[in-house]
Amino acid sequence: MSMSTPGDVRRPSTKKVATPAAGAKKSGGSGKGTPTRPAATGGGKGRRPVAPVKVSQGRNWGPIALYVTAGAVALGIVVFATVYLLQNKPDTRPWAERAADISGITNYRETDPKALDRTHAWGPLTYTINPPVGGTHNYNWQNCMGEHYKEPIAQEHAVHSLEHGAVWITYRPDLPQDQVDKLAKKIDGLSYTMLSPYPNLDSPISLQAWGYKLKVDNADDERVTKFIQALRLNATMEEGATCSTGITQTGTTPYDLGKDSGQTSTQ
């Protein structure tokens, strides 16, 4: 403490040892370079007043705590924002990429685009993919307001529903009733979906959207929900087209409503 004489001379009490340090900060802050140089010559000696500085540290817990707290809060905000934004980052990928994540899905838009013709036609039609996922179809679409059609429906109408953005779930007629009920409940009241039996399916359940197919064995398979989420409405070829005012009858022969009125325009 003897080396702190200059300070002591000014304010000779331990209590005021802090003041030279504060004074030094002030001189440093105000940019008074000249006084510091003479002091620098006594640098070796000057090291010892570090001790008073330590004393002052002990007495400045308040500001230190304030700065540390402010710093910690600021760091906390940055970390929180980073974590929050990363976790809540919306999946901005196009829906087709989200659909591609579903294991076992077939994308005929890539593998067989020629099968996805959009012409309208009357009468029975044949398809190369069964159940069809696109292609020439009837002028009338099957109503796709979450119905469970208990008998097979005309695929010529169903394809038109797919074009409007519907997901058409088909099941083999031998699928156990509890499995059928689960599928029916999943889509009950959900527009742009419909369910119907489909004889001779090569899997118990098959899901269709325009250009897409997924075969599953079980109604509880989580990919059923994923397929609906990724493709329902998204896979439409006509944004804004409806699922109501369609054909509500079952039967595999298409209903050529409007044929006799000479309808030729496409819907």
Binding site: M3, S4, P6, P20, A21, G23, A24, K25, S27, G28, P35, T36, P38, A39, A40, G42, G43, K45, G46, R47, P49, P52, V53, G71, A74, L75, I77, V78, A81, T82, L85, N88, P90, D91, T92, W95, R98, M145, G146, H148, A184, K185, I187, D188, G189, L190, S191, Y192, I228, A230, R232, L233, N234, E239, G240, T242, C243, S244, T245, T248
Partner: protein
């Protein structure tokens, strides 16, 4: 003045401290900015997204009911109201679907319908059927009805449908913050409230009960 000797290294720490503080301040500013702008786009679990999805569904059934009445009701008053409802609600479905696209959200949510609304799940009757929605059986019954029964059944189903829709709008208005969503929802409420009165008057004129 020996204290000033340590001024040089201390100035460096001072500069470092100021630089660190500045970096932190910029970081906080950027973070807050990102957080605020992030919240300006409703997330997949938001009331806005839930409303856009579920009200699209709700509207789609109103369009279905109205199109049946438009083509088959006997009263021209009923057919006019039905076409008004169908055209308006189909347009509103388009608006709501576009919101979901702009927000990078799927038209189909991860959670059950009505999850966005407090106690909303309790109002789901079966499957995905939201408040006021007709069952598939009721729709089949309307389809197979003839004569004035079409008018009466449509008005009864549509009355209940609108009351359920207004209930959903109230649920949204209690939670939503997106001004565009609130604006459309308020418009739906006032229009449907008016149509509820019109439906009640039509039922009265046909000497039919409201439900």
């Amino acid at each position: 003045m020996s204290t000033t000797d340590s001024g040089t290294p201390r100035r460096w720490t001072h500069v470092l401290a100021v630089a660190l503080a500045a970096c932190l301040l910029i970081g906080v500013g950027v973070s807050v900015g990102l957080l605020l702008s992030h919240e300006s786009t409703p997330g997949t679990d938001s009331a806005e997204a839930g409303f856009a999805r579920d009200m699209s569904e709700h509207h789609a059934q109103a369009v279905q009911l109205s199109m049946i009445a438009y083509s088959r009701a006997t009263s021209s008053d009923v057919r006019t109201l039905a076409s008004d409802i169908a055209l308006t609600q189909q347009a509103q479905i388009g608006i709501m679907q576009e919101w979901l696209k702009a927000w990078h959200l799927n038209p189909t949510g991860d959670k059950p319908v009505m999850s966005w609304m407090p106690d909303g799940q309790m109002s789901v009757e079966s499957g995905n059927r939201m408040p006021g929605m007709a069952t598939l059986e009721e729709i089949d019954k309307l389809r197979s009805a003839t004569g004035q029964q079409v008018d009466i059944q449509f008005c009864q189903l549509m009355l209940r449908h609108h009351l359920g829709g207004i209930h959903m709008v109230d649920g949204l208005l209690a939670k939503a913050s997106d001004p565009r969503v609130i604006e459309l929802a308020k418009g739906m409420k006032s229009a449907q409230t008016g149509e509820v009165q019109a439906l009640e008057m039509l039922l009265k004129s046909m000497n039919a009960p409201t439900g």
